[in-house]
């Protein structure tokens, strides 16, 4: 199936948060783009018609943080393996942090990521360029060149910029080129050595804690510097109620700040650490039930406009150690949409809002830097489409996982809602065959 192919997706419930569409409507794609919603253009002869009766048709999902482990950590995962997982999860655009090896701090590495991703053609991979060289927190990168090389945003991954002076300069310099900085809201000193939320559970288990203030101090500092410079920042991975509150107050004062949270923060809490479950070792750490509730509210109200997977696939060894010595992170691409649908089932969000937090919300954060205007279904725009069955139930297991990372606390859980087809630029990059749940073979890459 190639870009020139004409596809009609018929009879689905079409939800496009950007235009407010939520109704049964057909979607027609050709030449890699959406050509019509509703009636087909005169004389349109689809090469393939997909019957989406009972299914939801929405923009391909946009994930602001997914580690692909390539280059450098191919024993954990590769761009091929993880973009294949993304396609199976309905994610068509994803932003990968710069903490690869080598680090994405030069145009050459950014181009390498683009080239490998393009060769496999399973998802649009947008590398976040490093803010500082080697992520060392002191020397800023050639940001203009990184932007030119296809980095829509800049980030430090999970490494700190300890100096407020360096952060101030980085914000000023980045804003020269309208680049948004992704900042992990975690103070390096207050979180040093910690591996769990500082609270009742860390006290009981004797785990070194990361206080709430590790987040609020970092958020407050970054907001003050964003206000000072007028630069645009995005908090990548909020975890506390107070952190989200600070963001809301700042936005009220028109500071150019946005935020996301990893979707598992809306389900798991510090209590999930009992038994030293290393799959719940995360950074930022799982917080309290009250934080989870506040984050859910902030997502519902739009103060947190994007939900992301914060995908961090690991090999088994990374989690085979005493809890504090394990490496944090969840393999999370394939639970992004299912967990969002669980929020809908639990009445936290309605379905269009849930989809907005996975499409228009993150797309807006990537903003003009990303160029192509994805995250919406509109004639003339790239035909990135996710079609899912909201009723299908399935169980997350090592067999159903496409990602090479099996490190997820959700293994064995039943989910409702499953991707049927994923289109990237009009090409079918995922098709679930039959009801067996087996993933389609990866599409052949296209030689251009």
């Amino acid at each position: 199936m190639h870009e020139g192919m004409k596809i009609s997706i018929r009879n689905g419930r079409l939800i496009d948060p950007a235009s407010g569409i939520d109704r049964e409507a057909d979607l027609h794609c050709a030449e890699g783009k959406v050509v019509a919603i509703g009636a087909a253009p005169a004389g349109f002869q689809p090469d393939r018609t997909l019957d989406a009766r009972g299914l939801v048709v929405c923009p391909g999902l946009v994930d602001l943080s997914a580690r692909l482990r390539e280059p450098g950590d191919e024993q954990k995962a590769t761009i091929a393996s993880e973009t294949r997982a993304a396609a199976a999860a309905g994610i068509t655009t994803l932003c990968c942090p710069p903490d690869t090896n080598p680090i994405i701090d030069t145009p050459a590495v950014a181009q390498l990521v683009h080239q490998i991703a393009a060769r496999h053609g399973l998802a649009r991979v947008l590398p976040a360029g490093a803010i500082t060289r080697g992520l060392d927190g002191s020397q800023i990168t050639e940001m203009a060149a990184l932007k030119e090389a296809g980095c829509p945003v800049l980030s430090q991954g999970d490494r700190p910029i300890r100096s407020a002076q360096v952060l101030l300069r980085a914000l000023e310099y980045a804003s020269t080129f309208s680049l948004t900085l992704f900042l992990q809201p975690l103070d390096a000193d207050l979180s040093e050595g910690g591996c769990a939320h500082q609270g009742a559970v860390s006290t009981r288990l004797g785990l070194p804690g990361i206080p709430e203030a590790a987040e609020t101090v970092a958020v407050a500092r970054a907001l003050a510097l964003a206000e000072q410079t007028g630069a645009r920042i995005h908090f990548r991975g909020l975890s506390t109620a107070r952190g989200a509150e600070l963001l809301v107050e700042a936005r009220r004062r028109s500071i150019l700040a946005s935020g996301d949270c990893a979707i598992h923060q809306l389900f798991l809490t510090e209590d999930d650490l009992h038994g030293f479950n290393s799959n719940c070792h995360l950074l930022p750490p799982l917080r309290t039930a009250a934080d989870r509730q506040s984050l859910r509210m902030a997502v519902a109200e739009g103060a947190i406009q994007a939900l992301c997977s914060d995908h961090q696939p690991h090999d088994a060894d990374a989690k085979q150690a005493p809890f504090p010595e394990t490496i944090p992170g969840i393999s999370a691409l394939e639970t992004l949409l299912p967990l969002a649908l669980r929020l809908v089932a639990e009445g936290v969000l309605d379905l269009p809002t849930a989809i907005a937090r996975l499409t228009t919300g993150p797309a807006e954060v990537l903003g003009s830097g990303s160029g192509s205007g994805f995250g919406r279904l509109k004639p003339g725009r790239s035909a990135d489409v996710c079609v899912f069955d909201p009723a299908e139930t399935w169980v997350l297991s090592p067999e159903t996982l496409v990602s090479h990372g099996h490190n997820t606390p959700f293994l064995g859980m039943e989910f409702q809602g499953r991707v049927r087809w994923t289109l990237l630029g009009g090409r079918m990059v995922f098709e679930r065959s039959g009801t067996t749940g087996a993933a389609a073979a990866p599409p052949r890459h296209q030689s251009n």
Binding site: Q198, G199, A200, S202, T203, R204, L205, G206, L207, P208, G209, P211, H274, G275, F276, N277, S278, D317, Q320, A321, P322, F323, P324, E325
Partner: protein
């Protein structure tokens, strides 16, 4: 998921000892009673019973320890077990071997029990999860989390002096934040029904959420030991004595060092405990440490009987499974 569950077999017998938390009052009492039975053994001329003959017990110490390792070794030998002492800190891990590799290698040598000390909280729990089903794990201290045999030997010592726990006021003084000993003592005292547990120290050494452990927090030593039946002093690690947690050992002693004078507000028959080794002149005066109310050396001797009890109970649970595994011996 519960830390306690994997410590018991299906019938509720002790299989591993990882933490005091989640163990019933009956089980804790049974361990203390068993230990009482073993004190006779440790005092007789031939200090051995054949309960664990043919069993291999490996002391896996990833952190250095003298007292705990030695008393575990003595306990195992008095039960007639064969003992392997592995000082891992100095061997395998420095060669890049993972904890799991070390474990599986020892399993291949048909070890029946691991006694584990490790700097990371949760290490013993991890090993118990990974070990073969016929192997028992005893936690000899994991990070800040738990040191259950220390907690139990302290309960044993308290019970010998006080008869029971119901009306006791217990003061625990010092670095609660980093103390696995304190966590195990608190869990044990709460399970055994102590009337009141107070933790005393400056805010930097008391976790914010300390009260959730079931204790009353107090920052003044005099107030904290008033009318106490038991005063437990915790060891202050040297690395905490300067920096941002405490200004100096001197000020710590001025505020929280136990002296005869400060102890005078405790009950006249109060006992003073310390898990050792003591920093004399920091946690307490020599006068108190060597004084009539000190039971510190008794704690050490009691450690042998309590560890014998725990080892014997876990091995006993293995034997209940029948002579299935290699090297199983029904005593």
């Amino acid at each position: 998921m519960n830390t306690a569950n994997i410590q018991l077999d299906d019938a509720g017998h002790l299989k591993h000892l990882l933490t005091v938390e989640g163990l019933s009052r009956e089980l804790l009492t049974a361990i203390l009673d068993q230990a009482e039975g073993f004190t006779g053994v440790t005092q007789q001329a031939v200090k051995k019973v054949p309960l664990c003959r043919g069993k291999v017990i490996a002391n896996l110490f990833f952190e250095t320890s003298t007292r705990t390792r030695t008393t575990f070794e003595l306990a195992a030998k008095r039960l007639s077990a064969d003992v392997l002492n592995l000082n891992i800190a100095a061997s395998s891990t420095s060669k890049g071997e993972t904890l799991l590799d070390t474990l599986h290698n020892l399993e291949a040598m048909h070890v029946d029990m691991f006694v584990v000390r490790h700097a990371a909280s949760g290490a013993a729990h991890f090993i118990a999860e990974q070990a073969a089903p016929h192997v028992s794990v005893i936690n000899a201290g994991d990070g800040r989390h738990a040191h259950p045999t220390q907690g139990l030997l302290d309960m044993f010592t308290i019970r010998r002096h006080k008869g029971g726990f119901e009306h006791l006021r217990v003061a625990i003084v010092g670095d609660i934040l980093h103390s696995r000993v304190a966590r195990s003592q608190i869990a044990a005292l709460n399970t055994l029904g102590a009337a009141e547990i107070r933790v005393i120290g400056p805010r930097t050494l008391i976790p914010d959420a300390a009260e959730s452990l079931g204790v009353r927090v107090c920052h003044d030593l005099r107030e904290g030991v008033r009318d106490a039946d038991v005063v437990i002093m915790l060891r202050l690690q040297r690395e905490r004595m300067s920096g941002a947690l405490l200004p100096s050992a001197h000020e710590y002693y001025q505020l929280y060092g136990l002296t005869e004078e400060r102890l005078s507000t405790a009950r006249p028959d109060a006992i003073v405990m310390h898990p050792g080794p003591i920093n004399r002149g920091v946690e307490m005066d020599s006068q108190v440490a060597d004084g009539p109310r000190s039971v510190i050396l008794e704690q050490v001797s009691n450690g042998i009987a309590v560890r014998m009890a725990v080892i014997a109970m876990c091995i006993g649970t293995q034997n209940l499974r029948g002579p299935g595994g290699e090297g199983t011996y029904d005593a």
